[in-house]
Amino acid sequence: METQMFITILISVVQISIVLSLVALSVPLLILMERKVIGFMQSRIGPKRVGPSGMLQTIADGLKLLLKEDIIPDRADKWVFRLAPMIVLVPAFVAFAVVPFSGTGLNVFGQRITPWVTDLNIGILFIIAISSVGVFGIILGGWASNSKYPLLGALRSAAQMVSYEVPLGLALVGGLMWAGTASMVGIVEAQREAHLWFFIPQVVGTVIYFMAGVAETNRAPFDLAEAETELVSGFHTEYSGMRFGLYFIAEYANMLIVAAVATTMFFGGWLRPFPNVSWLAFLDIFNFILPGQWGPFMSGLMWVIIKVSCFIFLYYWIRATFPRYRYDQLMSIGWKWLLPLALANIMGTGALLLWLGQTG
């Protein structure tokens, strides 16, 4: 019994290390991708000096942050100031605990290793709950700085994040009604059984979710909190060195979470397009290249990575395309458009499910 417990914990530790390093290592990649994508969209090349075609640019930036002096203003609340970046970082990472990265697990030394750290039956609720903790870190960081720009930025950020949390949650409700479960793995399985990505009946929900997700992560065009023309750089104006780095990592981890939830909820997670059409099976390309259990595992992982990357690309595309909104516009989009639309979407989904006779 005790050895079994020990093995379970050991497997968890291995999974957590893999997921954590995957996320932490993808952050420099995402930043490089952002600069390159936006560069090309604006007819520039983007970073190109460090490493072959600028590949090592973000590594160099990270090292620079590590070597920078950590400035804590004299008037700041020292301990809250130190604590705040961690409050943002930890929830951003922990949300990955329930994200399924592939469909089938691996058998290593007779132990089954699942491609998700844990499969909670309240998966979606867990992610929403844990990612809303991040807003505390932002408002505490801004408040503890005891300086004008961070305080204003933190207030704006907090108001924006709580405003958009409502449509974000409501947009997911429609998908949950189709899935009939809140477990992340269960949702993808439900899409396999329904022969349908929930994006198709939930177009409105997907659009609302993604708009709210962009606002939740304080990204352009909803990056009012960091409106540099007005607020220098918002709640992290006073932060420098690695503490600023932690805020930065958390921001990109949050983007990944929004993309991963959208992938799982609306775009079939690890499933290939049209999972029920058998002649499309060749799309699961790793099934033919790799032997045994590695084939399905890598195919699933490939689809998750492709879908998440598409969402991340969409983030950058939106950032390069749209100008920043005014704050009152931001609030009226959230409260006057997205919220009623999300409620209507829920009632519409309910009526559609009744009409299709999908209810018992």
Partner: protein, 117 residues
């Protein structure tokens, strides 16, 4: 509850990740104190006033509205998961619930709680 054990471990691992980064940086970074450098950022001029002054009441209104609607979202989640089981009963129940909420929402809109300026 065993499913939540990895979450706990994950929280510890995430804290460790942040701590290792900060400690690493603490070892290698310089630390030169300077009273001007440590003063709050104010676009280069000397700091005026305490930043913690009164701010717009709208932030408070937004917080109240958030609590109202987020609690509603939490109510909707279990209902949505069980929707296919509940059928017509669930649909009618939730219509009543959402209708009451929409009335409150329209009232808040009419009173101008959703206007920012």
């Amino acid at each position: 509850m065993i499913a939540y054990l990895p979450v706990l471990l994950f929280i510890l691992a995430a804290i460790a990740f942040g701590a290792v980064n900060l400690i690493l940086s603490w070892i290698v970074r310089p630390a030169r104190y300077d009273p001007v450098k440590m003063s709050p950022y104010e676009c280069g001029i000397e700091t005026l006033h305490d930043p913690r002054q009164r701010y717009s009441v709208h932030y408070y209104l937004i917080a109240v509205l958030f609590i109202v609607f987020d609690v509603e979202t939490v109510f909707l989640f279990p209902w949505a998961v069980q929707y296919k089981v509940l059928g017509w009963f669930g649909f009618v129940e939730m219509s009543v619930f959402i209708l009451i909420l929409v009335i409150a929402y329209l009232y808040a809109w009419k009173k101008g709680a959703l206007e920012w300026v």
